[in-house]
Symmetry: C6
Subunit: 74 residues, 6 copies
Protein backbone atom coordinates (compact mmCIF):
# COMPACT_ATOMS: atom_id res chain seq x y z
CA UNK A 1 0.00 0.00 0.00
CA UNK A 2 1.33 3.42 -0.88
CA UNK A 3 2.21 6.05 1.67
CA UNK A 4 -1.11 7.38 2.92
CA UNK A 5 -0.41 8.67 6.43
CA UNK A 6 2.60 10.97 6.53
CA UNK A 7 1.50 12.71 9.72
CA UNK A 8 -1.31 13.06 12.28
CA UNK A 9 -0.96 16.83 12.16
CA UNK A 10 -3.71 18.90 10.60
CA UNK A 11 -4.23 22.62 10.33
CA UNK A 12 -7.75 22.72 11.72
CA UNK A 13 -10.02 20.57 13.93
CA UNK A 14 -12.24 19.90 10.94
CA UNK A 15 -9.36 18.54 8.92
CA UNK A 16 -8.54 16.42 11.98
CA UNK A 17 -12.07 15.06 11.96
CA UNK A 18 -11.75 14.22 8.29
CA UNK A 19 -8.45 12.48 8.98
CA UNK A 20 -10.25 10.43 11.67
CA UNK A 21 -12.79 9.40 9.04
CA UNK A 22 -9.99 8.32 6.72
CA UNK A 23 -8.39 6.27 9.50
CA UNK A 24 -11.70 4.53 10.23
CA UNK A 25 -12.06 3.66 6.54
CA UNK A 26 -8.46 2.46 6.30
CA UNK A 27 -9.14 0.07 9.18
CA UNK A 28 -11.89 -1.44 7.06
CA UNK A 29 -9.82 -1.40 3.88
CA UNK A 30 -6.90 -3.26 5.43
CA UNK A 31 -9.34 -5.91 6.69
CA UNK A 32 -11.28 -6.17 3.41
CA UNK A 33 -8.85 -5.10 0.66
CA UNK A 34 -11.34 -5.55 -2.20
CA UNK A 35 -12.77 -2.15 -3.11
CA UNK A 36 -15.48 -3.94 -5.08
CA UNK A 37 -16.73 -5.92 -2.09
CA UNK A 38 -16.63 -2.82 0.12
CA UNK A 39 -18.71 -1.00 -2.49
CA UNK A 40 -21.24 -3.85 -2.55
CA UNK A 41 -21.63 -3.56 1.21
CA UNK A 42 -22.41 0.14 1.18
CA UNK A 43 -26.16 0.18 0.28
CA UNK A 44 -27.21 -2.04 3.18
CA UNK A 45 -24.72 -0.43 5.48
CA UNK A 46 -25.70 3.15 4.73
CA UNK A 47 -29.38 2.49 5.32
CA UNK A 48 -28.98 0.97 8.78
CA UNK A 49 -29.00 3.38 11.69
CA UNK A 50 -26.96 1.19 14.03
CA UNK A 51 -24.34 0.58 11.35
CA UNK A 52 -24.01 4.33 10.91
CA UNK A 53 -23.74 4.89 14.66
CA UNK A 54 -21.07 2.19 14.87
CA UNK A 55 -19.14 3.89 12.07
CA UNK A 56 -19.49 7.19 13.90
CA UNK A 57 -18.06 5.52 17.02
CA UNK A 58 -14.89 4.41 15.24
CA UNK A 59 -14.46 7.95 13.92
CA UNK A 60 -14.87 9.22 17.50
CA UNK A 61 -12.08 6.96 18.75
CA UNK A 62 -9.71 8.05 16.00
CA UNK A 63 -10.66 11.70 16.55
CA UNK A 64 -9.43 11.35 20.15
CA UNK A 65 -6.06 10.26 18.81
CA UNK A 66 -5.84 12.97 16.16
CA UNK A 67 -6.97 15.70 18.56
CA UNK A 68 -4.32 14.66 21.07
CA UNK A 69 -1.66 14.60 18.35
CA UNK A 70 -2.58 18.19 17.54
CA UNK A 71 -2.68 19.28 21.17
CA UNK A 72 -6.40 19.85 20.52
CA UNK A 73 -5.47 22.72 18.15
CA UNK A 74 -4.91 25.02 21.10
CA UNK B 1 -18.69 20.63 3.19
CA UNK B 2 -18.57 24.10 4.70
CA UNK B 3 -16.50 25.02 7.71
CA UNK B 4 -18.38 23.55 10.68
CA UNK B 5 -15.69 22.98 13.33
CA UNK B 6 -13.57 26.06 13.89
CA UNK B 7 -12.53 25.02 17.40
CA UNK B 8 -13.04 22.46 20.17
CA UNK B 9 -13.22 25.25 22.74
CA UNK B 10 -16.53 26.00 24.41
CA UNK B 11 -17.45 28.38 27.20
CA UNK B 12 -19.24 25.87 29.40
CA UNK B 13 -19.33 22.09 29.96
CA UNK B 14 -22.88 22.00 28.64
CA UNK B 15 -21.84 23.65 25.37
CA UNK B 16 -19.06 21.07 25.25
CA UNK B 17 -21.60 18.30 25.61
CA UNK B 18 -23.65 19.79 22.79
CA UNK B 19 -20.52 19.99 20.64
CA UNK B 20 -19.95 16.29 21.35
CA UNK B 21 -23.47 15.60 20.09
CA UNK B 22 -22.74 17.54 16.92
CA UNK B 23 -19.52 15.57 16.38
CA UNK B 24 -21.39 12.27 16.79
CA UNK B 25 -23.94 13.39 14.21
CA UNK B 26 -21.26 14.61 11.82
CA UNK B 27 -19.69 11.15 11.96
CA UNK B 28 -22.99 9.77 10.72
CA UNK B 29 -23.48 12.53 8.15
CA UNK B 30 -20.07 12.00 6.55
CA UNK B 31 -20.85 8.27 6.26
CA UNK B 32 -24.40 8.75 4.97
CA UNK B 33 -24.45 12.17 3.26
CA UNK B 34 -28.13 12.03 2.27
CA UNK B 35 -30.15 14.05 4.77
CA UNK B 36 -33.27 12.42 3.39
CA UNK B 37 -32.09 8.88 4.13
CA UNK B 38 -30.92 9.89 7.59
CA UNK B 39 -34.37 11.37 8.24
CA UNK B 40 -36.03 8.14 7.11
CA UNK B 41 -33.92 6.19 9.60
CA UNK B 42 -34.91 8.33 12.58
CA UNK B 43 -38.33 6.82 13.53
CA UNK B 44 -37.04 3.28 13.97
CA UNK B 45 -33.84 4.50 15.49
CA UNK B 46 -35.42 6.79 18.05
CA UNK B 47 -37.75 4.10 19.32
CA UNK B 48 -35.07 1.51 20.01
CA UNK B 49 -33.45 1.62 23.44
CA UNK B 50 -30.18 0.01 22.37
CA UNK B 51 -29.86 2.36 19.39
CA UNK B 52 -30.25 5.28 21.76
CA UNK B 53 -27.69 3.88 24.19
CA UNK B 54 -25.28 3.35 21.32
CA UNK B 55 -25.80 6.96 20.22
CA UNK B 56 -25.19 8.07 23.80
CA UNK B 57 -21.96 6.09 23.80
CA UNK B 58 -20.58 7.92 20.76
CA UNK B 59 -21.45 11.22 22.44
CA UNK B 60 -19.59 10.04 25.55
CA UNK B 61 -16.44 9.32 23.53
CA UNK B 62 -16.53 12.73 21.87
CA UNK B 63 -17.25 14.41 25.20
CA UNK B 64 -13.97 12.96 26.51
CA UNK B 65 -12.17 14.69 23.66
CA UNK B 66 -13.98 18.01 24.04
CA UNK B 67 -13.57 18.02 27.84
CA UNK B 68 -9.83 17.41 27.49
CA UNK B 69 -9.55 20.17 24.88
CA UNK B 70 -11.12 22.53 27.40
CA UNK B 71 -8.98 21.35 30.29
CA UNK B 72 -12.27 20.11 31.77
CA UNK B 73 -13.38 23.76 32.16
CA UNK B 74 -11.26 24.11 35.27
CA UNK C 1 -32.82 23.11 27.27
CA UNK C 2 -32.13 24.74 30.62
CA UNK C 3 -28.71 24.88 32.19
CA UNK C 4 -28.06 21.38 33.51
CA UNK C 5 -24.26 21.03 33.55
CA UNK C 6 -22.61 23.94 35.31
CA UNK C 7 -19.46 21.98 36.14
CA UNK C 8 -17.80 18.57 36.02
CA UNK C 9 -16.56 19.02 39.59
CA UNK C 10 -18.07 16.93 42.35
CA UNK C 11 -17.21 16.62 46.01
CA UNK C 12 -16.90 12.84 46.11
CA UNK C 13 -16.23 9.96 43.70
CA UNK C 14 -19.77 8.71 44.25
CA UNK C 15 -21.24 12.05 43.20
CA UNK C 16 -18.95 11.84 40.18
CA UNK C 17 -20.37 8.44 39.34
CA UNK C 18 -23.89 9.82 39.62
CA UNK C 19 -22.92 12.71 37.35
CA UNK C 20 -21.66 10.14 34.83
CA UNK C 21 -25.08 8.47 34.96
CA UNK C 22 -26.76 11.80 34.29
CA UNK C 23 -24.47 12.43 31.32
CA UNK C 24 -25.29 9.01 29.87
CA UNK C 25 -29.00 9.75 30.20
CA UNK C 26 -28.62 13.21 28.70
CA UNK C 27 -27.00 11.64 25.67
CA UNK C 28 -30.15 9.60 25.22
CA UNK C 29 -32.47 12.53 25.97
CA UNK C 30 -30.86 14.79 23.37
CA UNK C 31 -31.27 12.02 20.79
CA UNK C 32 -34.83 11.13 21.78
CA UNK C 33 -36.31 14.31 23.33
CA UNK C 34 -39.72 12.78 24.07
CA UNK C 35 -39.84 11.79 27.75
CA UNK C 36 -42.94 9.75 26.98
CA UNK C 37 -41.23 7.60 24.36
CA UNK C 38 -38.20 7.12 26.59
CA UNK C 39 -40.53 5.98 29.37
CA UNK C 40 -42.21 3.50 27.02
CA UNK C 41 -38.81 2.00 26.20
CA UNK C 42 -37.86 1.39 29.81
CA UNK C 43 -39.68 -1.92 30.58
CA UNK C 44 -38.07 -3.84 27.74
CA UNK C 45 -34.78 -2.12 28.26
CA UNK C 46 -34.56 -2.73 31.98
CA UNK C 47 -35.24 -6.43 31.64
CA UNK C 48 -32.51 -7.13 29.11
CA UNK C 49 -29.09 -7.97 30.51
CA UNK C 50 -27.14 -6.79 27.48
CA UNK C 51 -29.05 -3.50 27.38
CA UNK C 52 -28.11 -2.95 31.01
CA UNK C 53 -24.47 -3.80 30.38
CA UNK C 54 -24.43 -1.40 27.42
CA UNK C 55 -25.88 1.33 29.63
CA UNK C 56 -23.24 0.55 32.24
CA UNK C 57 -20.58 0.92 29.55
CA UNK C 58 -21.68 4.44 28.65
CA UNK C 59 -21.59 5.36 32.33
CA UNK C 60 -18.06 3.95 32.50
CA UNK C 61 -16.90 6.15 29.63
CA UNK C 62 -18.39 9.27 31.21
CA UNK C 63 -16.95 8.31 34.59
CA UNK C 64 -13.48 8.39 33.03
CA UNK C 65 -14.12 11.97 31.97
CA UNK C 66 -15.58 13.06 35.31
CA UNK C 67 -12.83 11.35 37.30
CA UNK C 68 -10.16 13.07 35.24
CA UNK C 69 -11.91 16.44 35.66
CA UNK C 70 -11.72 15.90 39.42
CA UNK C 71 -8.10 14.74 39.37
CA UNK C 72 -9.52 11.42 40.57
CA UNK C 73 -10.47 13.10 43.90
CA UNK C 74 -6.90 12.80 45.10
CA UNK D 1 -28.27 4.95 48.08
CA UNK D 2 -25.77 4.69 50.91
CA UNK D 3 -22.18 5.76 50.59
CA UNK D 4 -20.50 3.06 48.54
CA UNK D 5 -17.55 4.80 46.85
CA UNK D 6 -15.45 6.73 49.34
CA UNK D 7 -12.34 6.65 47.15
CA UNK D 8 -10.80 5.27 43.97
CA UNK D 9 -7.63 4.40 45.84
CA UNK D 10 -6.77 0.76 46.46
CA UNK D 11 -3.74 -0.87 47.98
CA UNK D 12 -3.06 -3.31 45.15
CA UNK D 13 -3.81 -3.68 41.43
CA UNK D 14 -6.01 -6.66 42.20
CA UNK D 15 -8.14 -4.65 44.60
CA UNK D 16 -8.34 -2.04 41.87
CA UNK D 17 -9.61 -4.65 39.45
CA UNK D 18 -12.23 -5.72 41.97
CA UNK D 19 -13.25 -2.09 42.41
CA UNK D 20 -13.67 -1.87 38.64
CA UNK D 21 -15.99 -4.86 38.80
CA UNK D 22 -18.03 -3.14 41.49
CA UNK D 23 -18.28 0.02 39.40
CA UNK D 24 -19.50 -1.98 36.39
CA UNK D 25 -22.17 -3.61 38.55
CA UNK D 26 -23.18 -0.29 40.09
CA UNK D 27 -23.76 1.06 36.60
CA UNK D 28 -26.24 -1.75 36.07
CA UNK D 29 -27.80 -1.37 39.53
CA UNK D 30 -28.48 2.33 39.07
CA UNK D 31 -30.18 1.58 35.74
CA UNK D 32 -32.16 -1.41 37.04
CA UNK D 33 -32.59 -0.84 40.80
CA UNK D 34 -34.55 -4.05 41.42
CA UNK D 35 -32.17 -6.67 42.83
CA UNK D 36 -34.80 -9.28 42.10
CA UNK D 37 -34.98 -8.48 38.38
CA UNK D 38 -31.20 -8.36 38.13
CA UNK D 39 -31.06 -11.80 39.76
CA UNK D 40 -33.60 -13.14 37.27
CA UNK D 41 -31.41 -11.94 34.41
CA UNK D 42 -28.29 -13.71 35.63
CA UNK D 43 -28.85 -17.30 34.36
CA UNK D 44 -29.27 -16.29 30.72
CA UNK D 45 -26.61 -13.66 31.02
CA UNK D 46 -23.99 -15.87 32.61
CA UNK D 47 -24.36 -18.56 29.96
CA UNK D 48 -23.84 -16.31 26.97
CA UNK D 49 -20.27 -15.79 25.84
CA UNK D 50 -20.87 -12.40 24.24
CA UNK D 51 -22.70 -11.13 27.31
CA UNK D 52 -19.71 -12.14 29.40
CA UNK D 53 -17.27 -10.47 27.03
CA UNK D 54 -19.38 -7.31 27.09
CA UNK D 55 -19.33 -7.36 30.90
CA UNK D 56 -15.56 -7.84 30.79
CA UNK D 57 -15.33 -4.81 28.51
CA UNK D 58 -17.09 -2.53 31.00
CA UNK D 59 -14.75 -3.77 33.70
CA UNK D 60 -11.81 -2.95 31.42
CA UNK D 61 -13.01 0.63 30.96
CA UNK D 62 -13.42 1.15 34.69
CA UNK D 63 -10.06 -0.49 35.36
CA UNK D 64 -8.45 2.19 33.17
CA UNK D 65 -9.96 4.82 35.45
CA UNK D 66 -9.03 3.08 38.70
CA UNK D 67 -5.49 2.35 37.52
CA UNK D 68 -4.97 5.99 36.58
CA UNK D 69 -6.37 7.11 39.94
CA UNK D 70 -3.75 4.93 41.60
CA UNK D 71 -0.92 6.06 39.34
CA UNK D 72 -0.88 2.46 38.13
CA UNK D 73 0.35 1.39 41.61
CA UNK D 74 3.87 2.46 40.73
CA UNK E 1 -9.62 -15.68 44.88
CA UNK E 2 -5.89 -15.98 45.33
CA UNK E 3 -3.47 -13.21 44.55
CA UNK E 4 -3.24 -13.09 40.77
CA UNK E 5 -2.25 -9.50 39.96
CA UNK E 6 0.73 -8.36 41.97
CA UNK E 7 1.70 -5.65 39.48
CA UNK E 8 0.93 -4.14 36.07
CA UNK E 9 4.64 -4.02 35.26
CA UNK E 10 6.05 -6.34 32.65
CA UNK E 11 9.49 -6.64 31.14
CA UNK E 12 8.44 -6.49 27.51
CA UNK E 13 5.51 -5.20 25.43
CA UNK E 14 4.62 -8.77 24.52
CA UNK E 15 4.36 -9.77 28.17
CA UNK E 16 2.18 -6.69 28.61
CA UNK E 17 -0.07 -7.90 25.82
CA UNK E 18 -0.33 -11.29 27.47
CA UNK E 19 -1.18 -9.60 30.77
CA UNK E 20 -3.95 -7.72 28.96
CA UNK E 21 -5.31 -11.06 27.76
CA UNK E 22 -5.30 -12.37 31.32
CA UNK E 23 -7.14 -9.28 32.53
CA UNK E 24 -9.80 -9.72 29.84
CA UNK E 25 -10.28 -13.34 30.90
CA UNK E 26 -10.38 -12.43 34.57
CA UNK E 27 -13.22 -10.02 33.81
CA UNK E 28 -15.15 -12.95 32.42
CA UNK E 29 -14.14 -15.29 35.24
CA UNK E 30 -15.32 -12.92 37.95
CA UNK E 31 -18.67 -12.61 36.18
CA UNK E 32 -19.04 -16.34 35.49
CA UNK E 33 -17.00 -18.13 38.20
CA UNK E 34 -17.77 -21.64 36.96
CA UNK E 35 -14.81 -22.87 34.92
CA UNK E 36 -17.02 -25.65 33.63
CA UNK E 37 -19.62 -23.29 32.17
CA UNK E 38 -16.92 -21.09 30.66
CA UNK E 39 -15.43 -24.19 29.03
CA UNK E 40 -18.84 -25.16 27.62
CA UNK E 41 -19.12 -21.71 26.03
CA UNK E 42 -15.81 -21.89 24.23
CA UNK E 43 -16.67 -23.97 21.11
CA UNK E 44 -19.43 -21.63 19.95
CA UNK E 45 -17.50 -18.60 21.01
CA UNK E 46 -14.27 -19.53 19.29
CA UNK E 47 -15.98 -20.19 15.97
CA UNK E 48 -17.75 -16.84 15.73
CA UNK E 49 -15.81 -14.03 14.10
CA UNK E 50 -17.63 -11.23 15.90
CA UNK E 51 -17.17 -12.91 19.27
CA UNK E 52 -13.45 -13.11 18.57
CA UNK E 53 -13.30 -9.47 17.51
CA UNK E 54 -15.17 -8.47 20.66
CA UNK E 55 -12.67 -10.43 22.75
CA UNK E 56 -9.85 -8.72 20.89
CA UNK E 57 -11.45 -5.37 21.73
CA UNK E 58 -11.41 -6.05 25.47
CA UNK E 59 -7.76 -7.04 25.20
CA UNK E 60 -7.09 -3.76 23.38
CA UNK E 61 -8.65 -1.73 26.18
CA UNK E 62 -6.62 -3.52 28.83
CA UNK E 63 -3.47 -3.20 26.73
CA UNK E 64 -3.92 0.58 26.84
CA UNK E 65 -3.86 0.39 30.63
CA UNK E 66 -0.88 -1.97 30.83
CA UNK E 67 1.11 0.01 28.25
CA UNK E 68 0.54 3.23 30.20
CA UNK E 69 1.53 1.52 33.44
CA UNK E 70 4.82 0.57 31.79
CA UNK E 71 5.39 3.98 30.25
CA UNK E 72 4.99 2.19 26.92
CA UNK E 73 8.27 0.33 27.62
CA UNK E 74 10.25 3.36 26.55
CA UNK F 1 4.53 -18.16 20.81
CA UNK F 2 7.67 -16.61 19.41
CA UNK F 3 8.72 -13.06 20.08
CA UNK F 4 6.45 -10.91 17.96
CA UNK F 5 6.30 -7.55 19.75
CA UNK F 6 9.76 -6.23 20.57
CA UNK F 7 8.61 -2.61 20.77
CA UNK F 8 5.69 -0.23 20.23
CA UNK F 9 7.97 2.21 18.45
CA UNK F 10 7.59 2.74 14.73
CA UNK F 11 9.25 5.13 12.34
CA UNK F 12 6.10 6.54 10.78
CA UNK F 13 2.40 6.93 11.67
CA UNK F 14 1.52 4.51 8.90
CA UNK F 15 3.78 1.82 10.34
CA UNK F 16 2.09 2.53 13.67
CA UNK F 17 -1.29 1.96 12.08
CA UNK F 18 -0.08 -1.32 10.64
CA UNK F 19 1.23 -2.33 14.06
CA UNK F 20 -2.24 -1.58 15.47
CA UNK F 21 -3.70 -3.94 12.88
CA UNK F 22 -1.26 -6.64 13.94
CA UNK F 23 -2.19 -6.15 17.59
CA UNK F 24 -5.90 -6.47 16.76
CA UNK F 25 -5.21 -9.71 14.90
CA UNK F 26 -3.02 -11.05 17.69
CA UNK F 27 -5.91 -10.51 20.10
CA UNK F 28 -7.97 -12.80 17.92
CA UNK F 29 -5.16 -15.30 17.42
CA UNK F 30 -4.54 -15.71 21.13
CA UNK F 31 -8.25 -16.36 21.64
CA UNK F 32 -8.59 -18.73 18.68
CA UNK F 33 -5.14 -20.25 18.13
CA UNK F 34 -6.17 -22.40 15.15
CA UNK F 35 -5.11 -20.62 11.96
CA UNK F 36 -7.36 -22.99 10.03
CA UNK F 37 -10.50 -22.02 11.94
CA UNK F 38 -9.63 -18.33 11.65
CA UNK F 39 -9.24 -18.80 7.90
CA UNK F 40 -12.64 -20.51 7.70
CA UNK F 41 -14.23 -17.53 9.42
CA UNK F 42 -12.86 -14.97 7.00
CA UNK F 43 -15.33 -15.23 4.06
CA UNK F 44 -18.41 -14.51 6.17
CA UNK F 45 -16.55 -11.99 8.25
CA UNK F 46 -15.12 -10.02 5.35
CA UNK F 47 -18.49 -9.66 3.65
CA UNK F 48 -20.32 -8.20 6.64
CA UNK F 49 -20.18 -4.44 7.03
CA UNK F 50 -20.68 -4.43 10.78
CA UNK F 51 -17.99 -7.06 11.28
CA UNK F 52 -15.60 -4.88 9.32
CA UNK F 53 -16.54 -1.79 11.32
CA UNK F 54 -16.02 -3.71 14.55
CA UNK F 55 -12.58 -4.82 13.34
CA UNK F 56 -11.81 -1.22 12.46
CA UNK F 57 -12.81 -0.21 15.98
CA UNK F 58 -10.31 -2.58 17.59
CA UNK F 59 -7.61 -1.20 15.31
CA UNK F 60 -8.62 2.32 16.41
CA UNK F 61 -8.19 1.43 20.08
CA UNK F 62 -4.76 -0.08 19.48
CA UNK F 63 -3.76 2.88 17.32
CA UNK F 64 -4.42 5.15 20.31
CA UNK F 65 -1.91 3.10 22.30
CA UNK F 66 0.70 2.97 19.56
CA UNK F 67 0.36 6.68 18.78
CA UNK F 68 0.85 7.57 22.44
CA UNK F 69 3.87 5.26 22.66
CA UNK F 70 5.39 7.20 19.76
CA UNK F 71 4.48 10.60 21.17
CA UNK F 72 2.22 10.88 18.11
CA UNK F 73 5.37 11.01 15.90
CA UNK F 74 5.85 14.66 16.72
Amino acid sequence: MTDWLPSLKTETPQQGFELAIMLARKGVAYTQPSAEIRKDLRPKYEADADSLTLASQVIAIHFQTVALANNHWK
